[in-house]
Amino acid sequence: MANRVAPKAKPSALYLYGITQKKVSLAPDLVGVDGRASLEAMECEDLVCWISRVDKSEFADNLARNMENLDWLAEASVRHQRAVSAIAEQAEILPARLGTIFLSPSSLEADVRKKKRILEADFSSIKDSDEWGVKVFAVANKPALPAEALKSGKDYLKAKAAKLQKPATKGPDPEIERFAEALGRIAVRTADGGKISGAQRGLKWQTSLLLKRADRRKLEALLTKFSKEWEDVRRIECSGPWPPYSFVTRASAESGVNG
């Protein structure tokens, strides 16, 4: 009788979601970026690294290719964010960027050890704060073309072209500058908004705010005030609270390529 050979376990890697200063309990059904594995807390250097074990082939060897597959990227992004948010509900977290992967616990530990001072400074700067995203959109007004004044098709096309013509380039909108200044006064810090949603139609301006949780009402009041003042001209959208993705140090972005 032939011996059964146990299937060889696939090589795995560690996917990092973020780092906290304490351990927390997560819902047992919370899964990681692959939709299967649970999150694990790995203690290192008096900090807690939140990881899950992922397939090395999918998340390491073929990560670049997978990230250019928008279906894969969309699922991974939502799962990453869901996991980071679940931790953030219970503890201050330094969220990791999507796709931060280690091949072994020892390499993760070594890196955290090396960056510990920067990480601790980041914990101080985000204390009791959340990130909020604020966007200002132009409100599209579409008054009908004055049909009675248009005697011919040519008149119509001229009027239509004039309407579609972009306004001459102007300097910064002083109203938006006033809004930005007011937001800056209540925020701990501000940062540029994201690049991807920057292409949304009608978007005039966006920013990210780091805001003390105690100041949330101030934000709501300010947004309400401006949205009333801007009615029919601009629309404000606010998203949050987010884990402080925009307010953690890009710890070693300057360190270049090693290897």
Binding site: A64, A96, L98, I196, K228, C238
Partner: protein, 78 residues
């Protein structure tokens, strides 16, 4: 959170329903702590993998523009 004024929209507390994919990508792709930046791939003795996401980000931006980004799931609820 509900709207507090006509032209003001809040979103984001419920990732499943109210936060757009664009906002999520903005946060998870080009923000966040980088423990070890732009390391190309595992080579002997260096076993952290962190790919050049700035390059990937650019290609995602381009792809999204081509896909008419306004067709993606609604960013917010009115």
């Amino acid at each position: 959170m509900s709207s507090v004024a006509n032209k003001l929209v809040f979103s984001g507390e419920d990732v499943d329903n109210e936060t757009s994919l664009l906002d999520i990508l903005d946060h998870v792709l080009n923000k966040g702590v980088i423990i070890h930046g732009n390391l190309v791939i595992s080579l002997a003795g260096v076993d952290l993998i962190y790919l050049g996401l700035d390059v990937i980000l650019t290609s995602v931006e381009t792809a999204l523009k081509h896909m008419r980004i306004e067709a993606l799931p609604s960013a917010t609820k009115q």
